[in-house]
């Protein structure tokens, strides 16, 4: 198995607070890796460093063997890393279809003057982008289909906004998809759906996936490998069953001594 993402000795501090400490992490091609840990464990900070919002203080992030440290989010997304956000960040006042189409900017070439004149090339690319967006939206069954395409994103329910964010991330043609709590705020039925969806994202769309998730049913259902963080340190790694029973993980969640009771 070839690693698509390799993180070596990653370190990040905000002032005196060490948020991520000496972290090593590998995501192999075609793998689904879950990152778990209590609130404040540094999971989202890890995502923010991979996607280019923060620059790590130390360590290296390798995508296909090449370092992406110091790259902007735009460059990293163009290299094939897409993400969703824990707090939803869809483009609320754009239509559902436009949200997804907007994510194809980096993969398209039409210049502004070509758009202004609506040249044949611009038209062709526009049709192509539209088709691609609709294809991504179709991935979610009838949840984001039909009449919803032309609705503003703010009219969507919470769960559908999450789906839209995933569709938008898919439109950037990623190889590594990072999902920050995809099941947060969803009801049990929708949570169950998300589990199936992440499986399909790997099988049908062929992405390698890195997930932050708190819902252990989801984590159990999707993960090839689970990595547990606490206070920025990796405390356990392995199959779900092993990590779930790891004393360090139980202590991190339930407090000192909980594992031995």
């Amino acid at each position: 198995m070839t690693p698509i993402l390799e993180i070596k000795g990653l370190h990040k501090a905000f002032g005196g607070l060490n948020v991520v400490r000496d972290l090593d992490l590998v995501v192999n091609t075609g793998e689904v890796v879950s990152v778990i840990g209590p609130n404040g464990a540094g999971k989202t900070t890890l995502f923010n460093m991979i996607s280019g919002i923060y620059e790590p203080d130390d360590g290296d992030i390798l995508l296909d063997g090449a370092s992406i440290v110091g790259f902007s989010p735009e460059q990293i997304s163009n290299l094939g890393v897409a993400r969703t956000f824990q707090t939803l960040r869809v483009f609320l006042n754009m239509t559902v279809r436009e949200n997804v189409m907007a994510a194809t900017y980096g993969a398209t070439k039409t210049r502004m003057w070509q758009s202004a004149l609506r040249t044949p090339a611009a038209r062709r690319e526009e049709d192509e982008v539209r088709r691609r967006a609709e294809e991504k939206l179709a991935f979610f069954g009838d949840r984001l289909m039909g009449y919803r395409w032309d609705q503003p994103a703010y009219s969507l329910s919470y769960a559908n906004r999450r789906r839209l964010e995933i569709a938008r991330a898919m439109a950037t043609n990623p190889r590594l998809l990072m999902l920050d709590e995809p099941a947060a705020g969803m009801n049990p039925v929708e949570t169950h759906e998300i589990t199936g969806l992440i499986g399909r994202l790997r099988e049908e769309a062929g992405y390698s996936i890195l997930v932050i998730e708190h819902d252990m049913h989801v984590v159990e259902g999707i993960s090839d490998r689970v990595i547990a963080l606490d206070h920025g340190v990796k405390i356990a790694e392995g199959a779900f069953g092993d990590v779930a029973e790891d004393p360090a993980v139980i202590e991190a969640y339930l407090g000192y001594g909980a594992a031995t009771k």
Binding site: F91, L92, E98, A102, G106, T108, E126, D150, L156
Partner: protein, 472 residues
């Protein structure tokens, strides 16, 4: 899988939005029914016959409207689409105007042909726009606004005070006196030396601009602008080079402003620092916001409304019409029930007769003056009290009472509102006929401000804008 019952409410929300309600509904339905291409064709046709119907002064006003429309369209790119609050926009307009004036007058002296000067001016202004977009890389919202406001102020100060270039004898910008004797535009030997010719030139340019912007809005670039307005960080993660797009928005907006400025300078045959003050920036913003931020037809209609209204208000008769129509429109908007509307109108009529009777009973007919020669003078005789003596004092008090009444209308509901409306409207008419109709210059500003306020209260998203949602 059945769609029925999934969430009908959401499914039908579009229909609810499409189904316009209220007194503007027929107009908006009609507007929606016409396709954008035809809208433009109808607009151009109507605009093109305008100069045939009016005097030279009317054509001159038309030019003002068209220049304002172009500026509003350019500003819409930066503010409406890219969401960057640019208060330095008027500087680009001024820069274009001054640049053209300097290279087309005895100032240097240089008299560049139009086919050279216009492209150079537009390119230079775009470059300036790109340069001044640099703060927007780090600043957004209020901070960017303050920064760009500084540019606008600096431009006027430079033009006024630092007008000499090393090695050049004369004032480049002419200081406070500005530049006069600017060449008219001229293409292929055709001189744009009359108002009408410039008017049609502007119509053609505006049509081109509308089509181009309409296409750009619905393209990769337009979507990227709106995406960065909605959420810059998310846009950046979705492969959008946000800094480059901010720069592009500034540059394109500035280029349009530069072109408008150059044409303005040519039409006015001169440029003066006072043409580019903040007041004018506010006018452009008023046009854009009134029409609806983010909407192309909105920017045009806003420009027409903002530029024409003060002109209409110049004549007391027309101002009177506008006043009464405004009062009626306000009633229609505020009182949605017909019964209450009828009650208010009947109440105002009755109130007038009773008020006049009581007033004449207490004092006598000697307090009466002659009705002003406004449009409505004849109709209102016998109902309205037109004062002779003490007019100033009484109307000043009445004016204050009107404001109190308006506040009362705002804070009350239901029949209380109806009850307060009756004396307030009577007093408003009283103040209008006794005082304001006699002072058109003051009234004009007052009414214009009132029109804008009412508009924004009724439709915060502007005439043709769509309401934006910012909750998550």
């Amino acid at each position: 899988m059945s769609h029925i019952g999934v969430d009908r409410w959401v499914e039908e929300s579009g229909d609810r939005q499409e189904h316009h309600t209220g007194w503007t509904a027929p107009a908006r339905r009609l507007f929606d029914k016409v396709r954008p291409g035809w809208r433009l064709a109808i607009f151009i046709a109507l605009v093109s016959i305008y100069p045939l119907l009016v005097s030279q002064a009317g054509v001159r006003i038309g030019i003002t409207v068209l220049v304002l429309a172009m500026l509003a369209l350019g500003l819409n790119i930066v503010v409406g689409w890219a969401g960057l609050l640019d208060l330095g926009y008027v500087a680009f307009y001024g820069f274009g105007a001054y640049f053209y004036a300097v290279v087309s007058s005895d100032q240097l002296p240089a008299h560049w042909p139009t086919w050279v000067s216009i492209p150079v001016v537009v390119a230079a202004t775009a470059l300036l726009g790109a340069l001044l977009s640099l703060p927007s890389r780090r600043l957004v919202g209020d901070y960017l606004a303050i920064m760009t406001l500084f540019f606008a102020q600096v431009f006027v100060e430079i033009v006024r005070n630092y007008s000499r270039l090393p090695g050049v004898e004369t004032d480049i910008t002419g200081g406070p006196n500005g530049i006069t004797g600017v060449d008219p535009l001229s293409l292929f030997g055709f001189q744009f030396n009359t108002f009408s010719r410039n008017f049609y030139l502007l119509v053609a340019l505006l049509a081109l601009l509308i089509v181009s912007l309409h296409h750009i809005n619905d393209s990769r670039t337009g979507r990227a602008w709106r995406a960065l307005r909605e959420d810059t960080l998310a846009a950046e993660h979705m492969t959008t080079p946000v800094n480059r797009l901010k720069m592009l928005a500034f540059a394109v907006g500035a280029a349009i402003a530069g072109l408008s400025g150059a044409i303005f300078a040519a039409v006015q045959v001169g440029v003066f620092p006072n043409n580019f003050l903040l007041v004018f920036l506010i006018t452009v913003y008023a046009a854009l916001i009134l029409g609806g931020l983010g909407s192309i037809p909105g920017a045009i209609i806003g420009a027409i409304a903002v530029a024409f209204t003060p002109e209409i208000l110049r004549s007391p008769g027309a101002a009177g019409w506008l006043f009464y129509i405004g009062v009626l429109a306000l009633l229609l908007v505020v009182l949605k029930q017909r019964a209450r509307l009828a009650a208010v109108i009947a109440g105002v009529v009755a109130f007038g007769y009773v008020f006049r009777m009581v007033a004449l009973g207490i004092w006598d007919e000697t307090i009466l003056g002659t009705a002003n020669d406004t449009l409505t003078g004849g109709i209102l005789d016998g109902w309205l009290l037109i004062l002779g003596e003490h007019q100033d004092v009484v109307t000043n008090y009445a004016f204050v009472l009107v404001i109190v009444g308006v506040l009362g209308v705002i804070v009350t509901k239901g029949w209380w509102r109806v009850a307060i409306f009756v004396p307030t409207i009577y007093l408003a008419v009283f103040v209008w006929e006794n005082k304001l109709a006699l002072q058109p210059s003051v009234t004009r500003q007052l009414l214009f401000g009132g029109v804008l306020m009412v508009m924004m209260a009724v439709r915060p998203q502007g005439l043709l804008g769509t309401r934006r949602v910012e909750i998550t």
